[in-house]
């Protein structure tokens, strides 16, 4: 799992676009999309790597909070936003995915205030693993 390769590419991409770090701009969203492609390409080798999954979650989170889909669409008029350079691998095929449900309580609940109490559904699901 060569996660370091994607991290290096991310740093280089930041530098080449003259960015210091995360920010709400189309340029930074472009960095995130490049990083996403790299992450997609190593996903199978990294399936069992916790750092990979953490980085991927961060990626999704950053794309969400910076509204990258909307930002890049405005910028380029295309859904994926980033103009492709020659030789760059294409984005992975997009599969239909349900939008985040409007009843999705945890994120809103997590913003709920200093008490940080949960305000969503109390319908709980269980998962367990044991034995050999």
């Amino acid at each position: 799992c060569d996660l370091d390769a994607c991290t290096r590419a991310y740093d280089e991409s930041l530098e080449s676009r003259g960015l210091a770090g995360p920010e709400g701009s189309a340029a930074y969203c472009g960095v995130l999309y490049d990083f996403g492609i790299c992450m997609h390409n190593i996903r199978r080798a990294c399936r069992g790597n916790l750092n990979y999954h953490t980085s991927n979650t961060m990626l999704i989170h950053l794309k969400t909070i910076f509204e990258c889909a909307k930002r890049l669409q405005q910028e380029t008029g295309s859904a994926t936003g980033v103009p492709r350079k020659h030789g760059r691998p294409p984005l992975p095929p997009s599969t239909p995915r349900p939008d985040r449900p409007s009843t999705m309580a945890p994120p809103e609940a997590a913003q709920a205030g200093p008490e940080c109490s949960y305000r969503g559904s109390r319908n709980l699901r269980h998962c367990g693993l044991f034995g050999d």
């Binding site: 916790l50 989170h61 309580a105 997590a110 200093p114 998962c127 050999d132």
Partner: protein, 265 residues
Amino acid sequence: PHLKTFKGNMQTCRVQGAWPLVDNPYLAVQVTNEPVLFGSQATATTKVTVLVKGSATPCLNQTKTYEATADAPLPDTFIDGTNKSGPGEAVTIRYQDTAFGSLVEIRIRYIETTVIVRKVGRYLAFSTSMPDELVSWHSGQGDDQGTDGVQLCVQGCPLSEIMDLDSDRGHVLSWADALAKCVAKTSSSPPSTSTMAAADSNEGLGDLTDQYLDWCVFDLMTTGKEDFVLAARSAHRDTLAMDPGAAGNLRNRTAAQDVGAGAAG
């Protein structure tokens, strides 16, 4: 190990090496499984890593990591030495000794989520409950997000990893001997301290039934190690406590128990 998924599917899987059980914006859990015997395909959990992610919520300003390994006592804190974090103790760890081993309960209040890590004998066990919305939301993440989204708790084990309880079990113990040990009323591991005895009396482990009895028999036939009886009992207890509705969904094993009673003498 044996897996009960969020959807209630029950599987026995190889899943050797490191595998993600859960990964959503708030929580990631990964386990590492190793073969229980040389040459055996059956594996058991030797490491559990829990990440309570700090990036997605103001309720936690940094990611808290909990790591348990089978060759050491269960830590009673996160790896940074703390046992709580966030406003109003948004995340807490509670450690408990029991007659059957030790357990750690991680509570994440702002997502109404509980994670239990147990150490029974030489191996670890895991249980979690979390809101339906969180499960169904992260199960929708797909390839367009740059991940193949493996989460054993959500999708179950890949077909290639699923084992058959009858054909893949070992033969260290006979079926009758394994069943007799699994249905026996008493534990072979008496409490060694008053604290443990107190915890034991609170624990109230009931008889093994249903799928959990089948799993216990599989484990004992495969390894001969009676620790797995305790592991099955505590896992059964966690399931009934965290998912009371599961009792009605477990397969009726009355016939097997009758045979077991006969075999036990």
